[in-house]
Symmetry: C2
Subunit: 325 residues, 2 copies
């Protein structure tokens, strides 16, 4: 699609947690062993009164510092699984807090680690068909609010953060193809039980994130190579044609195993999980921004983005970088 | 857009409530006066263990009775504000329960009474750009679970239900234009306080739907005429050119006042709120189906759909009816 990523900004909460916080709350944990596996040394944790909407505002306001975009935006999508309210949709609150025009479409998409790819497809399609002209996609989640201090599976991995992405039409093929999929048969392997209308039959603590790490790993090893190959097929390309791979920053063990299995050269894979953690749907745009800041993106580079996780849900797409600074 | 509504089906819970239930729980209410204003005599109430996902399955399975659509669907959008879980997204559960292919995109859009218009725009755009080929949009909500027996503002109005809408490409301009908007400054006039990450500062009962009826009415009278006029302008048409108006079935007082103010002939307005109640995002597709069943839709009819409410959020669009039976 002829739709360009015009700007990316992100916000991370000021509170940072590392090994010392984990050790303090869990003297029995082998922190070094956990860190060796996850590759994650630091995570950001939202404040008690800080929500996905608050973080979304902080990320978006950084975008508005660099240009008078506020009144041009007519599409606002918030990707979140930790909304301020079940209703209304948090994107409506954002329209008001960001002082966007009233002729702006605004809605939340509920997706996790695959969410950025889906929101990109939705926003780009609405622009491509002329239904919208300028889109602001925001990915923002506070998973840490669902995680107890003694949860060894989830706490060392998940991190809070928000990324804001501005999209506009352009005159060349810059976005796509996409490959997306869903397998709800694994929904109970990453879930917050008793968090909605469904009566809790999962036999798990209510309101807290449950993750079956080994099952998630198996799912990832099955589905991520498939979506990469399907996308390469659709695009008529091979791994050699791709300049940079940006995976959802799930963890070291996940990304290492995918790229070993796919024989993707390490030098073509951008990672930033070490000091950012796994920020759910925000992780790909945050990594994209860090890659840009680090000089890893050149004009016309072909970049593959791959998201996967909760749902199960996954998505991948190609972007041709436009040379944005 | 060249995208056609191929089929609509809906499901309503078997439990029906009318005046006697309201009177039993609230002997002091003037039921006749309430009913005169709302126009609503009967509402459907989901079972204790019946969720938006369950209702969505029932509506979608009716679609599958009329054709082998199951394996053709590659896009599933669930519009809901009463999901089964905060995460994963309920659409993933539906992909599995409906036995759809794994190459199906699936996500929830969190919107209320405007939600069908938005989902129609999103699904049609994804089809129009070739990102999807066949879409199933489902609108399903169980607002009654948020409403206490003694809530005189909400209980006589809101009803549970699900509508499933199948969309496919066609070879003529059948859908659009759209006009959509958002005003989050009124979010607290229709909200479930303390239902998400935001600490409750609204000074309202936690977890229960709060509606400021007079404010919602004022918003509606302001914004609905504007979106109708904006849409007519975009389409280069007048009220005379429109064969049928299908409003979100908010209540009698709302629809009566809109059409009086806009001078829309009563005969051009389809209503079915009396025995269906206000089913939130499902109300427009349910009305569309009832209009079709009642012989009110002829091939090539120009129909205007208008949704409005919680958010605040609103949307309108034109469809050219394809002569479906």
């Amino acid at each position: 699609m002829k739709v360009l990523i015009e700007a990316i900004e992100y916000y991370l909460p000021s509170k940072v947690e590392g090994a010392s916080a984990l050790k303090r709350d869990n003297p029995d944990w082998k922190i070094e062993k956990i860190e060796e596996k996850t590759g994650i040394a630091k995570r950001h944790v939202s404040g008690v009164n800080e929500t996905a909407v608050d973080m979304a505002v902080s990320a978006a306001e950084k975008i508005f510092l660099s240009g008078n975009y506020r009144e041009k935006i007519d599409l606002l999508i918030l990707v979140t699984q930790s909304p301020d309210y079940k209703l209304p949709t948090s994107a409506c609150l954002l329209q008001d807090l960001l002082r966007l025009n009233k002729d702006c479409m605004a809605f939340d998409i509920n997706l996790g680690c695959s969410g950025f790819i889906y929101a990109l497809a939705v926003a780009a399609s609405l622009i491509e068909t002329g239904t919208a002209k300028r889109a602001l996609v925001i990915c923002s989640d506070t998973y840490t609010k669902y995680i107890g201090k003694k949860d060894r599976t989830c706490r060392p991995i998940f991190s809070d953060g928000a990324a804001a992405i501005l999209l506009k039409p352009c005159n060349y093929q810059s976005l796509g193809p996409f490959d997306m999929g869903t397998d709800g048969s694994g929904f109970f392997n990453l879930v917050v039980p008793a968090s909605g209308a469904r009566v809790n039959k999962l036999n798990k603590p209510k309101g807290k994130l449950f993750m079956n790490g080994p099952e998630l790993f198996m799912f990832t090893m099955d589905v991520v190579p498939k979506t990469i190959n399907a996308l390469l097929d659709k695009a008529g390309k091979t791994i050699k044609d791709i300049d940079l791979f940006i995976f959802h920053q799930a963890s070291k063990v996940v990304i290492d195993n995918i790229i070993r299995r796919m024989e993707i050269p390490k030098g073509k894979v951008f990672i930033n999980y070490r000091n950012k953690g796994n920020t759910v749907s925000a992780s790909i745009p945050i990594a994209l921004k860090d890659a840009q800041k680090g000089g890893r993106l050149r004009a016309n580079d072909k970049i593959m983005l791959i998201g996967f996780g909760v749902g199960y849900s996954w998505g991948s797409c190609l972007i041709r970088w436009g040379g944005q600074k």
